[in-house]
């Protein structure tokens, strides 16, 4: 289809340029800070940290069940193996392995976030 038949205008290019640049920046920025990081998984329920697990200290995979979400922690990452929510988007997200990534089960208000273990933890210790 020809551009004039679609009625394209310069503003379209501006919108695309801004969105593409923003998207590229969001993808590229996390790559700058990589390295052999040891990870900490933070499990939150309703925005409050329920449990913090140092993944590098794990010998074998461990499972935690928080509000209907079965969270599997391994040495290299975290995934949600099962959940009782309707859409199971958290399960479909798969495994996350990088600091800054997160898995969310919005209906259950459960979020698992990966952090760099060396960073100073806002939640020191565990609040049950």
């Amino acid at each position: 289809m020809k551009a004039e038949r679609l009625g394209l205008r310069p503003g379209d290019a501006v919108i695309y340029a801004v969105l593409v640049l923003l998207c590229a920046a969001l993808f590229l920025l996390p790559l700058l800070q990589k390295g052999n990081e040891s990870l900490t998984a933070v499990i939150t329920l309703n925005g409050e940290a329920v449990e913090t697990v140092d993944l590098s200290a794990l010998r074998e995979e461990e499972t935690r069940t928080v509000h209907g979400c079965e969270i599997v922690l391994t040495n290299t990452g975290v995934r949600v193996a099962a959940a009782d929510c309707p859409d199971r988007l958290c399960v479909k997200t798969g495994e996350i392995t990088r600091a800054g990534e997160a898995i969310a089960c919005v209906p259950n208000r459960v979020v698992v976030t990966l952090r760099r273990a060396d960073r100073k933890e806002p939640y020191d210790g565990v609040a049950w």
Partner: protein, 185 residues
């Protein structure tokens, strides 16, 4: 083209609302079958109806459709889905309101489609952050934005084809919903 009375406008909005609900049901049925999509991603077919309505009848109509869709999601899929749909729909309608006056001058329906898709996803992302109380979810925004670029281009192209034809058909050209009538009947 004769003026429409309020009842006719309400009926017409109802028809478009039903179309939005049907498409929303369709994409919820189809999409889980497609692999490799980021979780939560949708084609934005039902949001397309919101934007078409806004383009034909003015921004208030777009907000009406957005709220109707959210109510449908609330009834059929629960509170979370309803709130997510509401946030996405309202932000998309807001983006439409911003750009509508510039259509045909500085932007076309393609740019409108992309911006509305991005706004829709941003709304849903912000709502999921509010619901879970976890700003860490913002890191997920990049996938949603990337996906919005594709689906927005798709819906934008559909708008480019659809809206001028619907307007040319003469059926909808004189209707502005939510705006005072110069004269009725």
């Amino acid at each position: 083209m004769k003026k429409m009375n309020p009842a006719q406008k309400a009926a017409l909005l109802g028809v478009f609302g039903a179309l939005a609900l049907a498409l929303s049901f369709l994409e919820n049925t189809l999409l889980p079958a497609v692999p490799l999509l980021p979780p939560g991603a949708k084609l934005g077919l039902s949001n397309l109806v919101t934007v078409v309505c806004g383009a034909l009848f003015g921004p208030p109509a777009a907000f009406c459709i957005a709220v109707l869709k959210a109510l449908f999601a609330f009834v059929t899929r629960g509170v979370t889905a309803g709130l997510m749909s509401l946030a996405g729909g309202l932000l998309s309608a807001a983006a439409l309101s911003l750009l509508l006056k510039s259509i045909g001058k500085t932007v076309s329906y393609l740019g409108l489609g992309v911006l509305c898709a991005a706004a829709h996803n941003l709304g849903q992302l912000l709502m999921s952050v509010c619901l879970t109380g976890s700003p860490a979810l913002l890191s997920y925004g990049k996938y949603l934005l990337l996906f919005a670029l594709f689906t927005g281009t798709l819906t934008g192209l559909m708008l480019c084809v659809l809206v001028p034809r619907l307007q040319k058909s003469g059926r909808f050209s004189s209707i502005k919903i939510g705006q005072p009538e110069e004269q009725n009947q």
